[in-house]
């Protein structure tokens, strides 16, 4: 009797590797791994052989050699004697600059268009639909090139601003000049700058003093801006104290004191004081010789790339914002009204937190897309990281493999960091269900 309950001992057969689900997954994985390793080995082997035939090695030493080319748009000190690594840094900063500018403008455009797209006003609604569909269905590259062509071909030349009856005039109280060489806007300088130039900048810059009738250009250094931004950040952080106080009063008495003017004061006053102490002055661009000097020169390449990226991404963000607002069910608004919340509070305490949960993840992936799309800078000659590290540096040193690898890694790390941040955020705000 006992023999019948015994499970017959199975011997392992080779066919079990395919037909037995216990072993099959293992078989598949081993085969996949073998194929993968084989393919990688093949690729690497080919690369090594090809490098040998070409007489090249795999070496990142070129990053420390002098670059020998100029970059017209730069945020940090750079000359043609600087290294290729420095040039790559300039490119990375330029990529980040246009990405930040683009994300900011795209968000503004997208939120406005998305909200207006939900408007009951037929005209506004359809106008926004035309904007969204028009930009979503036409390649970004076309917009970049079009804006660049419009800027360079149909804007006035700097000399048109000359004379008693100029053909073109500057905007906003003679402070902004739109020319075919770019846009000139005022900049903020600091008379008591704490940069390397120090307080002696007037004597160090005789050419500027000679041109004195327009006022000498006040310098500005990174340190000045770091101080101003630091004070601003600290004030914003400090303003949270006021909000917490208001929360405490509301908990105790049920009445929430008005906070906005105190907050505004906490944020604005110290920043203004610091700027006054540094002697902030506005330096306006003016025509000298054949071109405008002073102020900030925004090149056409930057303007075209920035506007096109913002308008294009803004159209996508508009759809995201619209979908996010529509995703909050009407019952939520009604429930908030039933609780007696005023419309403003309904929006800020009930609708927005829920809509943002839907909006933020795709919004961040749009930011990511914008950053990656900024590599289209090649179309207008904006010196982003692809143009410096992945363009001129590769052409000059012949290090395609290393250059493209670094370029790819830069974008990859950027994307992975942003996705990681997004995942943390998602986990923080996601609905806590069962």
């Amino acid at each position: 009797m006992s023999a019948s309950t015994d499970v017959p001992k199975e011997s392992f057969r080779l066919s079990q590797l395919i037909y037995d689900t216990r072993y099959r997954s293992l078989t598949i994985q081993v085969i996949a791994l073998a194929l993968l390793v084989g393919a990688l080995w093949w690729l690497i082997n080919n690369t090594v052989q090809n490098l040998e035939t070409l007489g090249k090695d795999f070496d990142f030493g070129f990053l420390t050699q002098p670059a020998g080319y100029d970059i017209n748009q730069r945020l940090i000190e750079y000359t043609s004697q600087s290294t290729h690594g420095r040039a790559a840094m300039v490119g990375i900063l330029n990529t980040i600059l246009v990405a930040i500018l683009g994300c900011a403008l795209a968000t503004v455009l997208g939120v406005i268009a998305g909200v207006l797209r939900l408007s009951k006003n037929w005209l506004v609604n359809n106008l926004m639909a035309v904007y969204v569909e028009g930009f979503r269905n036409v390649p970004l590259l076309l917009w970049i090139i079009l804006i660049f062509a419009v800027m360079t071909e149909s804007m006035p030349q700097p000399r048109d601003f000359r004379g008693d009856e100029p053909e073109a005039s500057m905007f906003v109280n003679d402070s902004v000049a739109v020319t075919n060489r770019g846009v000139y806007i005022p900049r903020i300088g600091f008379e008591n700058s704490i940069g390397s130039a120090g307080a002696t900048w007037r004597s160090e810059n005789p050419a500027a003093i000679e041109a004195g009738e327009d006022g000498t250009p006040p310098p500005s250094s990174v340190w000045d801006w770091l101080i101003v931004i630091g004070v601003l950040g600290a004030s914003i952080y400090g303003a949270r104290w006021n909000t917490r106080r208001a929360d405490a009063i509301q908990e105790a008495t049920g009445e929430r004191p008005t906070t906005w003017y105190i907050n505004l004061g906490i944020i604005v006053v110290p920043t203004l004081l610091v700027m006054l102490a540094l002697g902030a002055t506005i330096a306006q661009p003016y025509l000298r010789g054949f071109n405008f000097t002073e102020g900030i020169h925004l090149r056409n390449s930057l303007i075209a790339l920035w506007l096109a990226l913002s308008l294009y991404t803004g159209a996508f963000i508009a759809e995201i914002v619209r979908a996010g607002i529509l995703a909050v069910s009407k019952g939520q608004t009604e429930a908030a009204n039933a609780l007696g919340l005023r419309p403003g509070r309904t929006m800020s305490l009930v609708i927005l937190p829920q809509a943002l949960r839907v909006i933020i993840p795709p919004l961040i992936s749009q930011y990511l897309n914008l950053t990656k799309n900024s590599s289209l800078a090649i179309a207008v000659g904006y010196m982003d990281v692809r143009s410096t590290l992945g363009g001129i540096t590769i052409n000059q040193t012949g290090r395609e493999l290393e250059g493209m690898l670094l370029l790819g890694l830069f974008y990859l790390v950027l994307s992975l960091v942003i996705s990681a941040v997004m995942n943390v955020y998602n986990n923080a705000v996601k609905l806590k269900e069962r």
Partner: protein, 438 residues
């Protein structure tokens, strides 16, 4: 109550009043305007602003279009014609650039005497894609859809017809192997042989067979090099090949990412993240600059083919993410139900999971396709002459130096038509597949 009420009431109307016209402000167009355009002070401001914007655009656009010139050979001639009409150089559009460069914008540098071939290829493509897109077409036509890619290839690139036919026969070998070996030795061996046999067939048998058959019956038409293909034809070839090839690859990647097999899962994740993390333009430069490093010494293959492969891989990573969203959105009960029915993995995916997951992902998939089609313009940077590359070339000629609006409007309009019809189709498909009652 009603009786006491009746006693105290002096007058009760017994007949109905005739219906009256609603007040003028509450009917017809006036009501619509009041409700839709002027319902509050904010709306009034917005309406006035919109009207101003529309007027501003139309005031610039309408005279420009109305005075457009269609028949001159250069920008200078066009400006002369405009000057004769008493307009300045920007008073009218010079659409003659489109009429003069039309063949180039559409076909690139394809030999003019062979223009009929891409047109025939396009018709074959439309006939082939129609039964796939619209279920109302007869189902037998799907066999024609299978043949279409090979015919389209032959029509565009020319050469011997035997090449495409024998290549197609390779797929036939695979199908036969799947059916017969699958019956004789089980599904898994069938699948493996269905993958291996065609590859062996293409590697070792295709060349000799094609050579032999072409020697016997030469079905040859003039060969055209990939370099000669440009314009919208190029954009369409790259876009459509990418779209058709990336969908199956993307679905496989999505299944790989959902898989419980550790290695498959990690490889899929790494592939998807690396592809998505780097801009397409960097991948295209990789294809044009670096591919020669990765392949055995001496291999060199068509730049256009490299671009198609890169665009396909790029789009498939995005599609994989979209499909993964669809897979994740399915209730777990569907997976469990499939298991409970005793379906194996392939059957449960094919019959239960994927049809539903793909239905959910349609908008995302079509958006990816639209993105892919728009991204075909990036090939201009690696030296292919797509519409934007041609527009740059045209703007650099002496005849048309200084023209931009006309060209860009034309190109933009063409892209808009293709992309917008794709998004309309996705809405149509979603509506058709809608199963819930709303």
């Amino acid at each position: 109550m009603s009786e006491t009420h009746a006693e105290t009431t002096r007058f009760v109307r017994t007949e109905m009043l005739a219906e009256q016209e609603p007040p003028i402000t509450e009917k017809g167009i006036v009501k619509w305007i009041r409700e839709n355009l002027f319902s509050g002070w904010l709306n009034v401001i917005l309406t006035v602003l919109s009207l101003f914007v529309i007027y501003w655009v139309l005031a610039a656009l309408v005279p420009w279009l109305a005075n457009s010139v269609w028949t001159t050979g250069s920008l200078a001639e066009c400006r002369e014609v405009l000057a004769e009409k008493g307009l300045n150089s920007h008073g009218g559009a010079c659409f003659s650039v489109i009429t003069e460069r039309w063949p180039q914008l559409i076909f690139g540098f394809y030999p003019p005497e062979l223009y009929w071939r891409p047109i025939v290829a396009f018709v074959i493509f439309l006939l082939g894609i129609a039964p796939v897109l619209f279920q109302s077409m007869p189902r037998q036509a799907l066999w024609g859809s299978l043949a279409a890619p090979f015919l389209v290839y032959w029509m565009i690139w020319g050469g011997s017809l035997w090449g495409p036919i024998i290549t197609a026969a390779g797929f036939g070998v695979g199908a036969l192997a799947f059916v017969f070996i699958g019956k004789a030795a089980g599904n898994i061996l069938g699948t493996i042989s269905a993958i291996l046999l065609p590859i062996l067939f293409w590697l070792f048998l295709t060349g000799p067979i094609v050579a032999g058959l072409s020697g016997a019956i030469p079905l040859e038409i003039t060969k055209v090099e990939s370099n000669d293909i440009g314009g919208f034809m190029l954009a369409l070839i790259i876009g459509i090949s990418g779209i058709i090839l990336s969908l199956p690859l993307g679905i496989l990647l999505a299944l790989g990412r959902q898989s419980h097999l550790f290695i498959i899962n990690k490889v899929s994740v790494a592939f998807i993240e690396v592809i998505r993390g780097v801009p397409l333009i960097v991948w295209l430069f990789t294809a044009s600059l670096l591919l020669n490093y990765f392949l055995p010494p001496g291999t060199n293959f068509d730049l256009m083919l490299r671009v198609i492969i890169m665009v396909t891989l790029f789009a498939s990573a995005y599609i994989a993410e979209v499909v993964r969203g669809g897979l994740a959105a399915l209730p777990k009960g569907q997976y469990e139900a499939a298991d409970a029915l005793g379906l194996d993995y392939a059957k449960s995916m094919r019959l239960i999971i994927l049809p539903q997951a793909l239905k959910i992902s349609i908008p995302g998939i079509v958006n990816t396709f639209i993105g892919l089609f728009k991204d075909t313009t990036l090939v201009v940077f690696i030296g292919l002459l797509d519409p934007i590359g041609l527009s740059n070339a045209i703007r650099a000629t002496t005849e048309w130096n200084g023209i931009y609006w006309e060209l860009f409007i034309f190109i933009g309009l063409m892209f808009f038509i293709f992309c917008y019809s794709m998004s309309r189709y996705s809405i149509f498909l979603e509506k058709k597949l809608q199963r819930e009652h709303r």
